[in-house]
């Protein structure tokens, strides 16, 4: 089967650069798979789990905030943070989940709800992947 080339670019480094059979990306409007000969495509990623498949093996990453472009079987993903399961600090994720929940519950004004929500989502995805 023909492979697609995946590049995951972070502001500080090129994190992944290789050939894969197919991938599953958490798009804003739901997860979607990218196989060989996918149509040219640009979308935003939501906080979620990115799966890369290669020869029946899969790799999973927690990914947060970014974009995907697909063009001629070259997939480029730009994102702020991406972590493999073993890189996730469960204690920290849990702490940040609790912090975000507290922030969302509090009745104070001047809270940046969007930011608290984003960090809650991020923490939840990390915990989910970590407990797998």
């Amino acid at each position: 089967m023909s492979k697609i080339h995946i590049t995951v670019i972070q502001p500080t480094q090129i994190r992944i650069d290789g050939e894969y059979d197919h991938i599953i990306v958490p798009g804003v409007d739901g997860d979607f798979g990218i196989y060989f000969d996918h149509t040219p495509f640009i979308t935003k990623i939501r906080t979620g789990v990115l799966q890369l498949f290669q020869n029946d093996k899969s790799e999973e990453y927690a990914i947060h905030d970014g974009f995907v472009t697909v063009e001629n079987n070259i997939v480029k993903i730009v994102c702020d943070t991406i972590e493999k399961k073993d890189e996730i600090d469960a204690a920290r994720a849990k702490a940040s989940k609790e912090r975000a929940e507290k922030r969302l519950k509090s009745s104070e004004e001047n809270i940046n709800f969007r930011r608290a929500e984003a960090s809650l989502k991020k923490a939840l995805v990390r915990l989910e992947l970590n407990s797998k």
């Binding site: 670019i9 972070q10 502001p11 500080t12 480094q13 090129i14 798009g27 804003v28 409007d29 149509t39 040219p40 495509f41 640009i42 979308t43 935003k44 974009f67 472009t69 063009e71 480029k76 730009v78 702020d80």
Partner: protein
């Protein structure tokens, strides 16, 4: 004639100053290397975001989006002045501040955002236009920190109806050369690029949202890049400044040692003359 001991103490004190400046030079050199690596690593990300944005803009759906609008010349302008947090880096900050003053004179009701303590310290005293300041960011440079700054700048731009935001910063050319750059940050002007694809993409959720989100990302990256450039330029400037300070100290030490030896010689000569004349007086 200068006292021998006095000269000696001066030599000692200059020696220790020389040691400090030399150490600062080394530290600056190693920080510079780290920042340069960061700049290089940030490039693919920035290029890709720029290419996506360019592709979208070329298609041109909506230039009426505030992030990509044309400058009308009606509203207020904001200047972001990027200086360092610490001194001892030669004329690095003075040049930036001077440049900012020139722009402020042309445009007296413009607002100011200061990134870096040195610029803030100056404009806090000399201008009433400072709306925001971010100090002590350069010690722990991190993408998430620059993103926070970028988010605040973005919301300021969108909420306050500013006409445009310009950044004044030092760009790293080489360890001995920094260029002062005045650049329009917002509304966004994507850089021309050869890598624009002519493909007809499918956009999800829709072009409007993508263009807005991409624009935000573009600003995040741009602020990150500007801060890195400024930080690299600062370290470069500090390196050169400290290098010449070390050289000057060495020169001064040489001069003082010469003085010291001369004074010592003179003292010995006088002593011998005294003894000799004393001995002669006894003989007679």
């Amino acid at each position: 004639m200068a006292n021998l001991r006095e000269i000696k103490t001066r030599i000692e004190s200059i020696k220790s100053t020389k040691q400090i400046t030399n150490a600062m030079k080394m530290v600056a050199a190693s920080k510079l290397r780290k920042t340069q690596d960061n700049i290089i690593n940030a490039r693919p990300y920035a290029d890709h975001v720029n290419n996506m944005l360019r592709t979208l803009k070329n298609k041109n759906i909506s230039t009426d989006h505030p992030l990509l609008a044309e400058v009308t010349g009606k509203g207020k302008t904001v200047y972001i002045v990027v200086t360092s947090d610490r001194g001892l880096c030669g004329s690095f900050n003075t040049h930036i501040i001077k440049k900012a003053i020139i722009h402020l004179e042309k445009n007296p009701d413009a607002d100011l955002i200061c990134i870096g303590k040195k610029g803030y310290d100056y404009f806090r005293k000399h201008s009433t236009n400072v709306t925001e300041n971010y100090i002590n960011l350069f010690n722990e440079m991190d993408f998430s920190i620059s993103t926070e700054v970028a988010e605040k700048i973005l919301s300021l731009f969108l909420d306050e109806n500013y006409d445009k935001i310009d950044v004044i910063y030092n760009e790293f050319k080489s360890a001995i050369q920094q260029d002062i750059i005045v650049k329009q940050l917002l509304p966004i002007v994507p850089i021309e690029s050869d890598e624009i694809s002519k493909l007809d993409y499918v956009y999800e959720p829709d072009e409007e949202t993508i263009i807005y989100e991409l624009g935000k990302k573009y600003i995040h990256v741009d602020i990150w890049r500007i801060m890195l450039e400024s930080s690299a330029a600062e370290q470069g400037a500090r390196m050169t400044a400290m290098d010449s300070a070390t050289e000057n100290a060495a020169e001064l030490i040489d001069k003082l040692v010469l003085h010291y030896n001369r004074a010592r010689q003179a003292a010995i000569t006088t002593e011998i003359i005294e003894i000799a004349s004393g001995a002669e007086a006894i003989q007679q």
